[in-house]
Symmetry: C2
Subunit: 469 residues, 2 copies
């Protein structure tokens, strides 16, 4: 049965939470949910249940949920051995708690009869109206509320990316830099992809939705829902368990049924979902969709101080279905004035001879190149390659971008940077919403190609539904 948006808010915007399985141990390796909540700064009511303590980390604990003098706690989080879970579910139901995250493993993901029987007992509670997220789940994360049910330490930030995943790796992988809001539906015995999609569909804080799918049972409703949502907000999907061997592994991970990869591929494209090619792409592509505007076409202007890097970037664009822009005559004549007479001005715009041979100031040449390319109607995105080897050159880059692109960029700007201040420049430029910094030209071209294809889909889905593969 589908969950309402109000149900979903109990999971991800709870005003009060009961915690089952809070350890008295704290610090690294203790996986103490209460400690995580306090560290994040959650301001809602917390009711830790532990029969062997009266307080943990300065918070009063309760011997059982019956002792909590509060009716209708929004959410319970259970992190106890599997055989205790049905009993706790019963106590929750009695106490009027209708929304429960089950962190515990060993149900549909187990290979034994006990796991199956315990899952049947959980199913019984679901049929009596209790909503379950999990089992085998880290639950939810919500940076706006400083709330998470995860027992793993998390770094959350208020970004407009909403995640729906079946693995804690999307919570615990800080390099992803995409932990805004998140649901870990894991084994997904009740709350489904579609339920979470409908929450994000109406959530004003979410601009881009990222799915990590191993498999699912409710594919008809999912395709209907995601087709509708993808027409309003970009939906990116990492569909894992592509191969037979991965499907076997998925069965013991989330107990998922995995369909044929070809069917998934066609269905996702038809629905307008951007299907990602691997885990390594998730962060860059999600940030590109979250921070950059849609593209009017596939034409890219490339600005580089290395002819060789320019050639490599052209390769990357062409292989990903992007076009190397034929820039306008005004752009070429403006740049020719800065270049040696013997240099053919083309795209890529190679600014190195301008300052090595013509002794033009680097700042002037790069700023002018960037401004001209950003304003050229023949380019739908701009790729800038340069170095940030010193703190001075890093600050200079940020200033040049600010000067050439005041306000929000009118088209996507991607940067490939080299040098020790690459990470700093990435943080600054992305925090300002000015540019996305990629590791290499291939990553840049892949992300822009996804954006270009989704942009085409958004422009034309009435006539031509689906994403061009």
């Amino acid at each position: 049965m589908s969950a309402s948006v109000e149900d979903m808010k109990k999971f991800i915007e709870p005003k009060s939470v009961a915690l089952f399985g809070v350890s008295r141990r704290t610090g690294e390796g203790a996986f103490n949910i209460l400690e995580q909540l306090l560290t994040q700064g959650y301001q809602g009511a917390i009711y830790p249940v532990n029969p062997n303590a009266t307080e943990i980390l300065g918070v009063r604990t309760f011997p059982s949920i019956r002792h909590v003098n509060h009716n209708g706690v929004d959410l319970a989080v259970i992190n106890l051995p599997r055989n205790l879970v049905p009993g706790i579910l019963g106590e929750c139901a009695e106490a009027g708690i209708r929304h429960v995250v089950i962190c515990t493993q060993g149900f549909a993901d187990a290979n034994d009869e006990e796991g199956r029987q315990l899952q049947k007992q959980i199913d019984g509670f679901i049929s009596r109206g209790v909503r379950i997220l999990g089992p085998n789940s880290l639950g939810t994360a919500n940076p706006s509320l400083k709330f998470t049910s995860s027992f793993m330490p998390l770094v959350m930030s208020r970004i407009p990316i909403g995640v729906i995943c079946q693995s804690g790796v999307f919570f615990g992988f800080p390099e992803l830099r995409l932990l805004g809001k998140a649901f870990d539906i894991a084994n997904s015995c009740d709350i489904s992809f579609s339920d979470c999609l409908e929450y994000y569909e109406q959530d004003p804080e979410t601009k881009v939705i990222v799915l990590h799918i191993e498999g699912m049972k409710e594919s008809k409703r999912f395709i209907d829902t995601v087709s509708r949502v993808a027409r309003k907000k970009p939906v990116l999907a990492l569909k894992a368990a592509r191969s037979h061997q991965a499907a076997v592994a998925a069965a013991s991970h989330t107990g998922s049924l995995v369909g044929s990869d070809g069917v998934w591929d066609a269905a996702l494209k038809q629905a307008g979902v951007v299907r990602l090619d691997g885990f390594g792409e998730v962060s860059d592509v999600a940030n590109t969709f979250a921070l950059m505007p849609l593209m009017k076409g596939r034409r890219v202007a490339i600005i580089t101080g290395s002819g060789g890097f320019g050639v490599i970037s052209v390769d990357a664009c062409c292989r990903n279905g992007l076009e190397v822009a034929h820039l306008s005559p005004e752009t070429y004549s403006r740049m020719q004035a800065l270049y040696p007479p013997w240099q053919t001005v083309g795209n890529p715009l190679d600014y190195l001879p301008s300052f090595l041979v013509m002794k033009q100031p680097y700042r002037k040449v790069v700023t002018e190149s960037l401004r001209t390319a950003m304003n050229d109607g023949q380019a739908d995105a701009v790729l800038l390659m340069t170095g940030v080897t010193t703190i001075k050159s890093y600050h200079r880059l940020c200033e040049m971008v600010e000067e050439a692109v005041p306000g929000k960029p009118p088209k996507p700007l991607g940067c490939c940077l080299f040098g020790g201040y690459r990470v700093d420049a990435k943080q600054s430029l992305e925090a300002a919403g000015k540019a996305i910094v990629y590791d290499n030209p291939e990553s840049a071209a892949r992300a822009l190609a996804y954006l270009a294809r989704y942009s085409e889909f958004r422009r034309g889905f009435q006539d031509n539904p689906g994403i061009d593969g």
Copy 2:
């Protein structure tokens, strides 16, 4: 005419060097070759030529090469406006200097008659026995000698990777971490890929050779040479200028003639060269070949604390032609003793339930998993996924690897790590030659797949020449 190894040593192991075009300006943006040489700590003789100075940075300068009281300087480096280059070449020839790097741009890479005429004059010197590296070149880099002719600041390190490239981006991109020895042949009007290959073929410091190719004129000799060298040392190639548009860009970058990409692909595979798919792969794959042993087969054991990450890794292996190993019964029974009875022990080995459910110590479970997999004859490589979110967990990882893999690893060990100490762990584990740390499972699988295919080539090239695509 092919260059001898003795010629090549003059370029990359010079005992003395004359510098033409040394600025009195120093510091960031000055691109002062003398300053770079002094910063690196080069111990050979340096003769800067500058008619407007008597000393620069404390080094005596000479008004012309005629004033240098030393016969047969090993190498000259010219970084002057293009119209001055033939005159300086004449002075060098008179002074008995037979090896010259030309950094200057604007010859075959220019679009004008003057560029062609100047190149003809350079060609005249070549036919009289002067050897030229370039033009449009940063020259060479040699960390063993602390020598470079590059005017760009470089970070060199003594690693057994030899680069032959046509773009300074391979010199100036510190993220590549592969600047051991390097030749930038750039426009390649004389010194060629084959000349550099023959140097590396005999160089005991070089174990792996990386090529960045835009195009070349001497393809017959190149294929003969590289086919021979690839049977002794791995040769990795990034063949750029794949598309028509990239070929146009390459013509104005290095003036290269670019053949059909399909022909290149077939020829490189036939020769046993590992063809890389993009710039983003270069560093990881080169390090993998430099630090890890060859593989006996394609079977990979995966150790993970995240079931979802395990599934993603299986996908990555299968898509890259690797196999998920069927580990030995001894491995499974050894691990089952640490796992919950309800967990199916398989590959991936998922250690999370072992310490979450069975309360086994993390260090014991991971060390035991790693040792068992490294010793299992059914696995040809091992992939370990874990977190280094704290300095403690980073040190613990290094200790666990040391304990499970004393000495050099008997098979490749790849790690995908998450957390803030990823870069530190990468540096430590790679410096110790214990493991390669990759950004994500896809990068790991690609690098191991290249290694597996090259290993097959090395085992079987008598019967079955070429690399399996």
